[in-house]
């Protein structure tokens, strides 16, 4: 560790002949043996460094101070590696107004003791980014993931072992204010599923009522973190993913980007790339009436059911087929009197339809029409 600028990990072995305020420091700057930067927890970075302390039999005071770096004081730990039975950390004291602490160590002999100091260091972290290049038919992606190390901690690490939450540690140096981007995952043929999704709760129902606006149907890619996809070895960290597609002319086009969430093994990564304006959904409510009305003695309605009809026309203007996932919502207690398409209930009030749309023909777009005739039950005004 280069202590030029910052984190002067100065080790001061203090002569503890007196207990007076004046801290006479005898500096013995021990060489660092090994440094590990642990990046396995995304919320904080743990530094572990090994040094050799020259300890005398009896009480020793070791001063650990830093400058220009941000260390979580409470996170600092000291571990004896060679004589844990004979060397005991008695106390830790924090001098006023200093970025420092003093360890009081009892030693059973004169030892050159290797110790490991661990602490949480701020402003050093890692990001994950993804670059996926889909093939032209959009069935496979070449998925690459990059590890981006960012060091703004104030400390130069000339050489350190870097540990992620899986895989082998690797050696890498990184200076203060330096950013390094490294390829760390390359999965050339991960299968993908392309998904179009219309959610009636979030998208406008009737595009003809909008002034010159298209309603884009969100399009996503699904990549499964499993062996079949060449993945499945570990959870995929969240990060920004940029998706490209081969253009058939030796180049690519940029399809879109999304923030991938952390994907545990076996789960799906869903990347929203953009909107399709070639699938058009026109949803309308064709009937809404109160039935089975019950009244109190004052003739006020106290309970009723509803009779509702919703239609949704789905048009595919694309020259290729597509499967549209349509989400419909019916609140409260309800039953379906008639529905011309199959659905699954995602929860009590959410219906999911998987609607297969053929490609458009010369005659026009492929059209399917959903009709839901349902009753909401026991509604109170």
């Amino acid at each position: 560790m280069n202590a030029k600028r910052a984190m002067v990990v100065a080790f001061l072995t203090l002569l503890c002949a007196t207990t007076t305020q004046a801290r006479i420091k005898l500096v013995a700057l021990p060489e660092r043996a090994a440094t590990v930067i642990r990046l396995d927890n995304p919320s904080a970075t743990l530094i572990e460094e090994e040094r050799v302390l020259t300890l005398q039999k009896g009480l020793n005071k070791v001063d650990f101070s830093w400058k220009g770096v941000q260390i979580d004081e409470d996170s600092i730990r000291l571990q004896m590696l060679e004589h844990p039975a004979d060397v005991t950390l008695l106390s830790v004291s924090y001098p006023p107004g200093e970025s420092a602490l003093v360890w009081e160590i009892s030693s059973g002999g004169d030892f050159a003791e290797t110790v490991r100091i661990s602490y949480l260091l701020s402003n050093i972290d890692r990001l994950i980014t993804y670059k996926a290049v889909a093939n032209k038919p959009e069935t496979l992606v070449d998925l690459k993931s990059y590890l981006v190390l960012r060091n703004f901690s104030g400390e130069d690490f000339a050489k350190a072992r870097i540990l992620l939450d899986y895989g082998e540690a690797f050696e890498q140096g990184i200076s203060h204010e330096e950013t390094k981007q490294m390829l760390f995952l390359n999965d050339p043929n991960a299968p993908i599923r392309k998904v179009w999704k219309f959610d009636a709760a979030t998208l406008p129902w009737d595009p003809t009522k909008l002034e010159n606006q298209n309603v884009g149907i969100p399009v996503s890619y699904e990549i499964t973190n499993n062996k079949a996809g060449g993945l499945g070895g570990f959870a995929l960290w969240g990060g920004k993913a940029r998706i490209f597609q081969q253009d058939g002319h030796g180049g690519t086009i940029f399809l879109g980007e999304d923030n991938a969430a952390l994907v545990p093994v076996g789960e799906k990564m869903e990347l929203y790339i953009g909107d399709s304006r070639d699938i058009v959904v026109t949803q309308r409510k064709m009937r809404e009436a109160q039935i089975s009305i019950r009244r109190n003695n004052s003739e006020q309605v106290v309970l009723y059911d509803t009779d509702e009809v919703i239609t949704a026309k789905i048009e595919n203007f694309k020259d290729s087929p597509a499967v549209l996932t349509m989400i419909q919502h019916i609140p409260g207690q309800w039953d379906m009197e008639e529905c011309n398409m199959k659905y699954t209930k995602k929860d009590a009030g959410t219906l999911k339809f998987e609607i297969e749309l053929p490609a458009r023909t010369e005659k026009g777009p492929a059209v399917k029409e959903l009709t839901m005739h349902y009753h909401r039950r026991n509604v109170r005004p």
Partner: protein
């Protein structure tokens, strides 16, 4: 392409020596550049090919991007030959140096290696716009589509292959903001302010001379634009290469089709357009309309009409229209007109079928309204008129008084009448609207479904 990656060079790293001290050995030239420009976001994918001279072992490639609007996190370099012999292992953004990066490359081969460098940049935009010219009888229209490409990227792109993307791309960050960051990936924990690109005005004067020179050597035939679908987008590839200096725009013809059949469509809907009739041009993006090859990107259409035999023009209106998929119909709003008139008149109103509650208060009733709607076309061309009527709720019945035109229930509280009028003609139709109030609305036998 003068400034960008201007100091691209292969450096040979001497073992044990800090990278900042290595010497520049060669400077490769750029061979080709391709620009894929998006219009839904300020973003362009640039792809350029260069030939690097590599030595066996460790090589460091330095590049810089000062005064440009490129996103350094998007930089990627791929070898186009000997890919298994060349390992581009890492990209380093060194400390305390701005707009500079180092690629560390391990090579098992020495000599010239073609590479492809891609990155995203901002400042290049394009938009579509249209000119429509109606014939005198307004039955057909000549539709000319243009694209206009503008370069405010800070770079002069010379002899670039230009491609345009039609589509709505989802992006998280503005490229211009990424380009102006102090550190490419930011700092841990920092909150990023949103910055907007500043057009680089001073560059325009310099570019002026180059454009003049180019204009003189311009070719006579307009360039063709090849269109193809990719994923949810359409890719327009402009024939040949283009030179667009910084600060300049270029207009290119996308298509020019004569004789597109159009329908003069007039709409009346008080809640939406007020008491005036709004004129639309209705057409369809299909073969019957001499279109239908590709979707039509959104843009502004300016409509003219041939006014006389001498080919003078009259201005008819301007409409912005949305993206039109293949086979979809479109209605172009040309604004309010006074020469087609719709007058809905309430000619009779009464109430009936009162219901009373236990306290003898009114709990329900029917409201009966008789309407007569007069539609007048004072123009010299035929007109199709759609009259939309919105009601307060779903509890109503409508009885037509005649069979003039056609009638459609649009949804639970909307109906539409359509009438077609010949030049200088008038039509009248009527209907009776019964609206059920209070408990009358809850008597299912009394109203239609």
């Amino acid at each position: 392409m003068k400034r960008l990656i201007s100091s691209l060079g292969v450096l040979t790293v001497v073992a044990g020596v800090a990278q900042a001290k290595v010497d520049l050995t060669t400077l490769p030239s750029r061979d080709t550049v391709q620009l894929t420009i998006y219009n839904s976001a300020d973003m362009t994918l640039a792809r350029e090919s260069r030939a690097l001279t590599l030595k066996t072992g460790a090589n460091a490639l330095q590049f810089s991007w000062e005064n440009t609007l490129i996103d350094p996190t998007s930089l990627e370099m791929l070898p186009k030959a000997n890919a298994d012999q060349i390992d581009i292992s890492e990209l380093v953004y060194p400390p305390r140096v701005k707009n500079l990066g180092l690629w560390n490359v391990q090579s098992k081969v020495s000599g010239k290696v073609p590479v492809e460098i891609t990155y995203l940049t901002s400042g290049l935009t394009w938009r579509a716009f249209y000119m429509g010219t109606l014939t005198q009888d307004e039955k057909t229209m000549r539709l000319q589509a243009y694209v206009r490409v503008t370069n405010n990227s800070g770079e002069d792109y010379e002899n670039a292959q230009v491609r345009l993307i039609v589509g709505k791309v989802h992006i998280l960050d503005q490229i211009a903001e990424l380009a102006q960051r102090q550190y490419p990936y930011g700092r841990p924990g920092e909150v990023r302010p949103l910055a907007l690109p500043a057009p680089m005005v001073e560059e325009r004067q310099k570019a002026l001379g180059r454009v003049r020179a180019l204009a003189e050597s311009a070719i006579a035939k307009p360039k063709e634009i090849v269109k193809e679908g990719l994923s949810e987008y359409f890719l327009y590839t402009i024939e040949g290469t283009e030179t667009i200096p910084n600060g300049w725009s270029k207009r290119l013809l996308s298509f020019d089709i004569d004789g597109v059949p159009v329908i003069n469509l007039y709409k009346f809907e008080e809640e939406r357009y007020g008491s005036s009739v709004t004129r639309f041009l209705s057409l369809k993006n299909d073969e019957a309309h001499k279109l239908g090859q590709t979707p039509i990107p959104d843009g502004i259409l300016t409509v003219y009409r041939s006014a006389d035999e001498q080919k003078h023009l009259s201005y008819e209106g301007r409409s912005s229209f949305k993206y039109i998929p293949v086979n979809e119909a479109v209605e172009l709003d040309l604004g309010a007109v006074a020469d087609v008139v719709v007058e809905p008149n309430l000619i009779e109103t009464r109430t009936d079928n009162y219901r009373f509650d236990n306290n003898r208060n009114i709990s329900g009733w029917d409201e009966i309204q008789v309407f007569s709607v007069q539609v007048r076309n004072t123009r010299e061309v035929p007109a199709k008129v759609e009259i939309t009527r919105n009601f307060a709720g779903p509890n109503w019945d409508l009885k037509r008084s005649d069979e003039v035109g056609s009638f459609e229930k649009v949804d639970l509280d909307t109906v539409k009448f359509t009438v077609e009028l010949s030049p200088h003609s008038k039509q009248v139709f009527g209907y009776t609207l019964t609206t059920y109030h209070g408990v009358r609305a809850q008597e299912p036998s009394k109203k239609s479904r």
